[in-house]
Amino acid sequence: MTDGGHFVTLAGVSKSFGDNVVLHGIDLSVDLHQVVCLIGASGSGKSTLLRCINRLEAVDAGTIVIDGQTITNGAVDVNSLRRKIGIVFQAFNLFPHMTVLQNITLAPRKARGLTKAEAEGTARELLARIGLQDKASEFPDRLSGGQQQRVAIVRALAMEPKLMLLDEITSALDPQLVSEVLNLVRELAQTGMTMILATHEMSFANEVADKVCFLDAGVICEEGPPAQIFTAPKEQRTREFLSRIIESGRL
């Protein structure tokens, strides 16, 4: 094993869509129980990077090793890989034709082979944890955006993932709904969940991250502990990005 004990290791990961180079030689390592925040402007490659990690996108070059398993060669079983990795999207992507409970239990039942009773038991526990136990039989469109996103997080957690990928999960929410979602993520961080987040919430990144990576034009321009990145960035481009963020009042 060449991952040197890291839980996730990316080495030289590149990805293009046509002529558009989205990721250009990304190196990144994440340890177990670590929270890594990806920051950077829209289009800097944060989402694509997350999607490469659970093989929603195939990389063009480079390797990704997760939990000792190289996932970037053709032989990997993407379905069993994805069962270990939860991902939550900006747009929630709940299944609109299913109730909250069905949304949460579908994958545990069909992909992990749990019985309906087992899956529903876990789902109800998770819902109780986020205070939505009485919404179990509602359809997603009856829930607020913040509630929907928390259900989406719980849906991913129901698969008992070893790694969670959060892709700008508060960007589609009304400002007053952001905190309920971030509180849940904070809790996850405290329980030791390994997470990679793409986010525009700089103060949240500052608070929960063990490591912050600034992506610019498909390259990790700078990485380091949040205290260093947010207060004493070394790179000119990081400083420019952060000063724009500060101007817009988000830090």
Binding site: R82, A111, R112
Partner: protein, 235 residues
């Protein structure tokens, strides 16, 4: 006017025609029900085949495309002639030894499956790619994603156009008369020959209308309901 009413709507003519035409109309209903069930199943299968990913599925996809293109472009009456007259002349086991009714069901199924495949396909394509992505990222495989996430949403959306196609199918059961199946139109023809009255055709028309109107209203209501729900969601 008096002559017109006499020829088409003489009360005695209508009354006498009802039992005879009804006798044939039951065959239309059977044709319709059997063909619709087969169409629903086959069309779903072909729509799914058309959407299969990957290079290895290319021959299947191509076959599905050729099938839908061919049968959407071919008149039902032609398909009916070819199956009812052509297939028996081949003298092969099973295919050549069916009743006219079976050839009728077959023709309707062949043609309408091609239409309905397109309806299903439109439905499948209308489900946002992010739904597929969400399902796959939870570890569901391709088939599970299709079965539990994509198709339920797709089918719900295409119920109104499906019902519309079935109204077409109901009426087209009359075409099967040309291969000699004694359905409502055939019985109406016999009746007019026997009694020199067109009342039989009028009775057949009334039967068809009575069958399609509830169907059409039901479809209209469904569409309206859906629009209302979608507007409520936006609000």
């Amino acid at each position: 006017m008096g002559k017109f009413l006499h020829v088409f709507f003489s009360p005695l003519g209508l009354r006498r025609a009802v039992p005879q035409v009804w006798d044939g109309f039951q065959t239309n209903i059977k044709l319709m029900v059997i063909a619709e069930v087969l169409v629903l199943a086959f069309a779903l299968l072909i729509a799914v085949v058309r959407g299969l990913p990957g290079r290895s599925a290319f021959p299947l996809r191509a076959l599905a495309i050729v099938y839908t293109d061919f049968f959407r472009g071919t008149p039902l009456i032609l398909v009916a002639y070819v199956s009812a007259l052509g297939l028996p002349s081949l003298v092969i086991a099973v295919v050549s030894h069916q009743s006219l009714f079976v050839y009728g069901v077959m023709s309707l199924t062949l043609v309408y499956t091609a239409y309905v495949t397109e309806v299903y396909r439109a439905g499948i394509e209308s489900v946002h790619p992010s739904q597929r992505m969400a399902a796959r990222s939870l570890g569901l495989n391709y088939a599970q994603t299709l079965r539990y996430v994509i198709l339920p949403q797709a089918i719900r959306r295409v119920v109104p156009p499906l019902l519309n196609d079935f109204i077409g199918l109901q009426k087209d059961t009359a075409i099967i008369t040309v291969i000699g199946v004694t359905e409502a139109l055939a019985q109406a023809g016999f009746y007019s020959n026997d009694f020199f009255s067109y009342a039989g055709y009028m009775v057949a028309a009334i039967f068809f209308v009575l069958l399609t109107i509830p169907f059409a209203r039901f479809t209209d209501n469904l569409i309206k309901q859906r629009e209302r729900r979608e507007r409520a969601q936006l609000a």
